[in-house]
Amino acid sequence: MEQLNAWFTRLLADNEIFTAQTIGYYAHGLANTAQLVLLSLLIGLMLAVPLAIGRSSSRPWVKWPIFLYTYVFRGTPLLIQLYIIYYGVVFVDGIQDTWLWLILEKPFYPALIAFTLNTAAYTTEIFRGAIKATPKGEIEAARAYGMSQAKMLRRIVLPSAFRRALPAYGNEVIFMLHASAIASVVTIMDLTGAARFVYARFYAPFDAFLFVAAIYLCLTFGILYLFRYLEKRLLAHLKPQT
């Protein structure tokens, strides 16, 4: 650790912007971005699975409300959704007196709610497409085995739907990472927030934003390779036979 510190000090000796302190801001921002993105993706995923099943249902009173939800959240900018939840929470009278205020006081939670609802809407549509693409023969075979609807979903439809959804879901994860940059607008110190702080403090847009762009680029490639690996593992049976 000390060696690392010494190495850093030497490396950064010649510039005024990237001191150990500003690097610390970026590291803090990275932690915030990672928390926000991972939590919203996780909760969004858990919401999206039942919603996607409901969206594929043939009952109109199940199908249409979910369609309305995904249509609204996919059709409006995330920034608007964030503002509605953030300002909606702050300016609603009386909320400051309830226990909810303890949670909603920090901008992190309104942002988390907005991101979660947004990614859940996109993921629902991705899964719906994957469920719809289930080969008819598989469903007929499951029925012929006398499987109940729930069992068929659990054993036949969902496992193969998850696999088919994998490439599109990888795109959604990258999209969410990039979309999380707007968290900085509601004063959250995420990666972009750290870059904005450094820019404002040193008036050095190139240093501040190019550095953060490089971090985002690395994260994007990391996610890309992770999903490529997963696809290779989980979609091996779909590869053309040679």
Partner: protein, 233 residues
């Protein structure tokens, strides 16, 4: 009817800014996309590499970060160039970057990368027999592009193009963060002034949905037009 507390006209002006910004950057991104697709498909090694570098870099970095880089860095960069011109050649010019132009250029530049990928796939999907036939007729490259490649490419590109447009439309909301007065900015200011978030933000969301619905209808019509001669698909 909702009471917009006098913000109605400004909200409409903001909506107009959003639409203008969206359409102009769409135009720029289509031009850049066509150039990128051509570069990526060209036999020249440098053009291919440059095209790939452009699409990879742009698509790996958040829109907002790129926007801030170009917005805040743009003026400093331009000043550096004009300063250099002044010291070297005694040319005294001052260029002030207009916010609207910067917004169009940034969004156009970002979506040019996405359009490039869309167009490349679409160009490759055009039947090579068509191009051979055009060559056999003795068409020049530009005539062939205008009469054969472009119209047939559009049939394959339209679904991706409409998708990109929907994302672009939503990305225009980000310009409010860096100081352009689009409808999101007006709604945010009104919210802060009146402490009534839903009165302003929900109408803005509805306008976005409306624009999206209208463009969906428009793209469906275009698709029909470019599908002429291919039956229903």
């Amino acid at each position: 009817m909702i009471d917009l507390q006098g913000y109605g006209p400004r909200l409409l002006q903001g909506a107009w800014v959003t639409i203008e910004l969206g359409l102009l950057s769409l135009l720029l991104s289509i031009i850049l996309g066509l150039l990128t697709a051509t570069a990526k498909m060209s036999r020249s090694w440098i053009a291919h590499r440059l095209g790939t570098l452009y699409t990879t870099l742009i698509r790996g970095v958040p829109d907002l970060v790129l926007m801030m880089l170009l917005f805040f860095g743009g003026q400093i960069g331009v000043n550096m160039i004009t300063d250099w011109l002044y010291y070297q050649f005694d040319i005294d010019i001052f260029i002030n970057i207009n916010e609207f132009v910067a917004g169009v250029v940034t969004i156009g530049l970002i979506f040019g990368a996405y359009m490039g990928e869309t167009f490349r796939g679409a160009f490759l999907a055009v039947d090579s027999g068509q191009i051979e036939a055009a060559r056999a007729y003795g068409m020049s490259e530009s005539l062939m592009f205008r009469r054969v490649r472009f119209p047939q490419m559009m049939r394959h590109a339209l679904p991706g193009l409409s998708n990109n447009w929907m994302v672009l439309l939503k990305t225009t909301a980000l310009v409010s963060v860096i100081g352009l007065t689009d409808m999101v900015r007006v709604a945010e200011e009104a919210t802060k002034a009146t402490h009534e978030p839903f009165t302003f933000l929900i109408p803005v969301a509805v306008i976005y949905l409306l624009i999206a619905s209208v463009s969906e209808w428009g793209f469906a019509r275009l698709q029909k037009r470019y599908n002429v001669g291919f039956g229903e698909s």
